[in-house]
Subunit: 195 residues, 2 copies
């Protein structure tokens, strides 16, 4: 499928609109009609740019969101050198979710579809988690290199635990509409690594 500039624009408009719609209402709730309304497109456009229909569109949204999130995390973590940086990263993340009304663009996508209905989405999510963990590991290594973390600490499993804490924090944020679990998880990880 060859796209002109105009087509490209429409396509991304659809992805962004669908993304927003899903964030607000959840994957399962969103109807193609909703996306059409928000993005001012017709059904034929949807199926023109996403021949696989709804599923392909959701997959595209998943890809888009994971890329965004990963880019943000990479940017924040690649210059890790002090506990101040850590604190900054933590506060930014908390603030970001606050700004989104304590919702998460990805979590809804994950457990609803991934694994059963859409193996492809599952694969994207797995890859995303793996990449995120790698980024975290890198960050921890950087702190270790500058002596902030003891040299004999196993940063691999520390990163695994930290990622779990973050994901769980987000999950609990969505469920309970409170953000303190996320804060506690990251803070406890910091405390453990500082010791």
């Amino acid at each position: 499928m060859t796209l002109t500039r105009k087509g490209e624009l429409t396509r991304t408009r659809i992805v962004l609109g669908a993304s927003a719609e899903i964030l607000e209402s959840g994957v399962e709730e969103v109807r193609l009609e909703d996306i059409m309304a928000r993005t001012a497109t017709s059904k034929s456009q949807l199926f023109h740019y996403f021949p696989g229909g709804r599923e392909e569109l959701v997959l595209a949204v998943t890809r888009h969101e994971t890329e965004q999130a990963l880019a943000a995390q990479t940017a924040a973590l690649q210059s890790f050198a002090s506990w101040d940086d850590w604190q900054h990263w933590r506060d930014d993340m908390v603030a970001w979710y606050h700004g989104r009304g304590l919702r998460c663009p990805l979590l809804g996508l994950l457990s609803a579809d991934a694994g059963r209905r859409m193996p492809e989405a599952q694969a994207v999510m797995t890859e995303f988690m793996t990449a995120w963990q790698a980024v975290l590991t890198e960050g921890l290594r950087r702190l270790q290199a500058t002596g902030r973390i003891a040299a004999d600490t196993d940063v691999e499993s520390a990163a695994a635990a930290l990622l779990a804490g973050i994901q769980g924090g987000i999950l609990l944020m969505i469920t309970t509409k409170r953000i303190d679990h996320l804060e506690a998880a990251i803070d406890q990880a910091a405390a453990a690594l500082r010791a």
Copy 2:
């Protein structure tokens, strides 16, 4: 609605069957027809015992599963007195999920429905998480009382972080089909508390 013994039996048969069906296929995937087939019931029975239809049934399943989980956690944690107990609890939990094919009866229920479509389910889940955290806090307090955890440790936020780690571990287990995040999260929590 008054239930005879027979009715009671049918009702629980439906809940258990629906529960199993949901565990296998996910809430969204499951059709009333699937549940009817598995539990050998007719549609009129479903609506007789759950006048609210699908939604009420899912809610009943949610309640059932949370009760089970909470009972299990309470049993395991109420006799906490040593790090051996901790290790046991950890291993049992890991083994339990292994036995379930690295699936979780509750996580699917949570993010799919809770919050948007079914505020009631959301409430049940929130209550469940709160209760679980309370049970964890109790357990930690017990370890603290016997000197295994430093007296000045804030067990409240430690429990919050631990719960986040567990939830995230389960989430990552579902996504990646690996259980090491859950292990790492619990182990790191133990390490942090031991120090």
